[in-house]
């Protein structure tokens, strides 16, 4: 990713540098060559339609190139591959909290293995922050009340800066951390040695039972609510005729304000859990809902191995 961005950047530098040099040279040359001298008079010129068109159309094409190339990279930056390892992130004034799928939690540091796509699912507890790792050329604002997503693939082991790039109050400049990239084996060792919480989906499953979700959402779909198995990542038809893809934000919204999007064929009876559960618990629930989707038969084979949504039975490779 960094390479792509740099290539585009250098391309822009070249073209724009060239333009700068061209125009400034012209200005300087004209200024010297046509400087005021005795007996020399300015030569009046009205303008030239041909020239005007030339210097509108050529830049326009250059601009389209910039746009298209930039758009392609942006698209990649915004669409995490399906097989990413998923890290849940909660930002708050002024720290970063990360939670690995295996349950490891860390603050202001994020350990990741090399050559793995890492998808960071982020939300904020207070104001807007921004997840910025200059070395990976990625940045994404972190908003309260919803999820935003960034992803990267680190290739070289090392420690990289993590900055908060959206102004968020007094210690905005202190809201920094490290992204520690390790060889996979070392990463395993780190995971094993680190603080051990239950894996996220397991925590989520516990909450699911404890909060009474399971009374309505039974796996076989016989409850008052729809079965949540197989929901995530698929299209859901809504009562008002629209259909949406169930992503992290959809699940989150379904829990926080269930009345907003009603699944077709169901009554809007689900109570809101707003204010009753924390962002961390919400993350766990989302991870759980995901995990039971990806285990469904009929899913692409590769999804079994999807690291971010494994249950505890699966081992990290």
């Amino acid at each position: 990713m960094a390479g792509n961005v740099d290539a585009l950047y250098i391309f822009l530098l070249l073209i724009c540098g060239l333009m700068t040099v061209l125009v400034s040279t012209a200005v300087i040359v004209f200024a010297v060559k046509y400087r005021k001298r005795l007996g020399h008079r300015a030569h009046q010129i009205e303008g030239s339609l041909g020239l005007e068109i030339t210097w509108s159309v050529i830049p326009l094409f250059a601009f389209f190139t910039f746009f298209a190339w930039g758009a392609v990279i942006y698209f990649q930056e915004r669409t995490p591959p399906r097989d990413s390892m998923e890290v849940y992130t909660v930002a708050k004034q002024w720290m970063w909290k990360f939670e690995h799928p295996e349950g490891a939690r860390e603050i202001n540091a994020l350990h990741v293995p090399t050559n793995r796509n890492v998808k960071v699912i982020m939300t904020s507890q207070d104001v807007i922050h921004s997840f910025f790792v200059p070395a990976f050329r990625i940045k994404q604002d972190v908003l309260p009340g919803r999820y935003t997503i960034a992803w990267f693939r680190a290739t070289k082991p090392g420690t990289y800066h993590l900055f908060c790039a959206e102004y968020c109050g007094t210690q905005h400049s202190g809201m920094t951390g490290d992204v520690v990239v390790m060889e996979p084996a070392q990463y395993e060792a780190w995971l094993a040695g680190g603080s051990t919480g239950a894996p996220l989906p397991v925590t989520g499953q516990g909450l699911f039972n404890q909060l009474g979700c399971s009374t309505c959402h039974q796996i076989d779909g016989r409850g008052r609510g729809p079965s949540l198995a197989g929901v995530f990542g698929n299209k859901v038809s809504l009562e008002d005729g629209r259909s949406v893809t169930a992503d992290e934000n959809y699940v989150r919204e379904s829990i926080i304000s269930p009345g907003t999007k009603i699944v077709v064929g169901y009554k809007p009876i689900m109570p809101t859990f707003q204010g009753l559960i924390s962002d961390d618990q919400l993350n766990a629930l989302v991870a759980y809902v995901k995990s039971i989707s990806q285990q469904q038969p009929g899913q692409p084979a590769g999804s079994e191995a999807t690291a971010g949504t494994q249950t505890k039975s699966q081992q990290v490779h």
């Binding site: 629209r242 949406v244 893809t245 992503d247």
Partner: protein, 98 residues
């Protein structure tokens, strides 16, 4: 150039416009009470726009007396308003696309 050629509308004319406006008010309330499904808001806004047009054209004398410039000004106002709404919706309307 709009000089002092005033709008020689009679009082009766203005009263007629008023009645049209009142009738449309009744109509829009009536339409709101009937279930037209997705058309309810459309109808409501269409009627509102007709009413607004009546006020602008006849009470504000844009029709007839006023010069072209006034119309340009009004249209640009509406245009930029729609721009604000439209391009903002370009974000909100496509948030759920994937």
């Amino acid at each position: 150039m709009a000089g002092h050629e005033h709008n020689e509308h009679s009082i009766g004319f203005y009263v007629v416009i008023l009645f049209a406006l009142l009738a449309l008010t009744g109509l829009t309330v009536g339409a709101a009470l009937v279930n037209l499904h997705a058309w309810n808001p459309v109808v409501a806004l269409a009627i509102a726009s007709i009413k607004a047009m009546l006020v602008v054209l006849f009470f504000m004398h844009v029709k007839g007396a006023s010069e072209k410039m006034t119309k340009v000004v009004i249209f640009s106002g509406i245009f930029f308003l729609l721009l604000l709404l439209g391009l903002t919706m370009a974000d909100y309307g496509t948030r759920l696309w994937t």
